[in-house]
């Protein structure tokens, strides 16, 4: 996820201080990692340099968190592009799970790879249960539910992969360590 585009999106509703941007980011995307203030100001600095936002005012007491920003026409155009752009499907080679299986076969052998897969499945299953509890909590908002749905769907895909990989492990080991 791109923080700069999300900040542009939050500014589309009107000028905001950096502090308000952080607050509204964390409220709207509760399942995302909270933004650090430093990250907000660094991102605003880059957006300003690229002409996508500009300073629109400063409260009397000054200081960086009292500067408010407004989105520019170029910023709106960039935001519009981002919103219609398809994200590149994540290539499986970046997955740490995949890398670990291959490396453990190379370095340690089938038993270690199997133990890893079993332990990883247990961790995924526990997380799946926690996210399901988030969803079924009577206090859950629709936003909480769809954020949990997203994570659940990915964990479920990983779990299927863990299962089939285990069944293929002996063949993979054969192929890698003939």
């Amino acid at each position: 996820m791109s923080t700069s585009h999300v900040l542009l999106g939050l500014l589309a509703g009107g000028p905001r201080h950096g502090y308000e941007l952080k607050r509204s980011h964390d409220d709207r995307l509760p399942q995302a990692k909270p933004l650090a203030f430093g990250q907000v100001y660094a991102t605003l600095g880059r957006l300003e340099r690229d002409g996508l936002v500009e300073q629109s005012g400063q409260d009397r007491d000054g200081g960086p968190d009292r500067t408010s920003y407004v989105i520019t026409e170029a910023g709106r155009a960039r935001l519009g592009e981002w919103l219609t752009e398809v994200e590149p499907p994540a290539p499986y080679v970046t997955s740490a799970l995949f890398a670990k299986v291959v490396v453990s076969l190379l370095a340690s052998g089938e038993r270690v790879a199997t133990e890893y897969l079993v332990a990883q499945r247990a961790a995924h299953t526990t997380r799946l249960r926690e996210l399901t509890a988030v969803k079924t909590d009577s206090a859950a908002t629709v936003g909480d539910v769809i954020a949990a749905d997203y994570a659940i769907a990915h964990l479920d895909a990983d779990l299927r992969w863990l299962q089939t990989t285990l069944l293929r492990l002996a063949d993979l080991n054969e192929e890698m360590n003939p």
Binding site: V118, T125, K135, L167
Partner: protein, 229 residues
């Protein structure tokens, strides 16, 4: 917590086909346990044996520390009617009866007066969001509506254990999620234990704990590892 159900060294075959090969399982009061594993691994057979619907070839099923295999058929039938609820993939409502009559049926069989049974049935239909269907026949309802009625029927006697075999398997994802969410919510509210059979990880995640089977035996890895002979 107290043990509600305990299956020990359960064996069961269909003719020459072994379906359970020495399964141990324990369910405590109010606990939700998922039974998972690939198709044909023995999940449904285990559920039928635990629910006293099917006899085991060897091993024992104990309910509140009593071996129900030693009971007469009529004692087991009473146990099923009063302490257990069962729910299958397809609702299996009586087609000639309205939703209200279907849900009232277990209460009437248990000797509850008609008026009171009807009132309780309506409360349970309401709990599962289908109060307005009370007068309808199953044939006039959608799959999701039928399944909600079936859930109400399985829970109306407030059994100590609910046995659910792929209860949302025939429903679309969102309806399945709602039905399952409601089952879990009501089970927790009433302290009912649930044995939930499923082959899907996302469904099993509604349970407190998961037991995996492979080829009729426990699979502690949950990954379908073959138990080494």
């Amino acid at each position: 917590m107290n043990t509600l159900l305990q299956g020990t060294a359960l064996h069961r075959a269909y003719g020459p086909t072994p379906a359970l090969r020495g399964v141990d399982i324990e369910v405590t009061e109010g606990e939700i346990v998922a039974v998972t594993g690939p198709s044909g691994c023995g999940k449904s057979t285990l559920l039928h044996c635990l629910a006293g619907i099917m006899r085991v070839d060897s091993g024992s099923v104990r309910y509140r520390d009593q071996d129900i295999g030693l009971w007469s058929e009529s004692a087991r039938s009473k146990l099923r009617r009063t302490e257990f609820g069962v729910l299958f993939q397809f609702g299996q409502l009586v087609p000639e009866l309205t939703a209200g009559e279907n849900v009232a049926l277990p209460l009437l069989l248990g000797g509850v007066k008609r008026r009171e049974a009807q009132k309780t049935a309506e409360e349970w239909l309401d709990r599962f969001g289908v109060a307005e269907l009370a007068g309808k026949l199953p044939g006039a309802m959608s799959g999701g509506q039928q399944q909600r009625c079936a859930v109400a029927r399985a829970m109306v006697t407030e059994p100590r254990a609910l046995f659910a075999d792929e209860p949302t398997g025939a429903l679309d994802v969102l309806t399945g999620e709602q039905v399952l969410g409601e089952i879990v919510r009501v089970a927790r509210e009433k302290g009912m234990a649930v044995v939930l059979v499923t082959h899907e990880a996302q469904i099993a995640a509604y349970a407190d704990r998961e037991i995996s089977l492979r080829d009729g035996a426990l699979d502690p890895t949950g990954l379908g590892l073959r138990t080494r002979a």
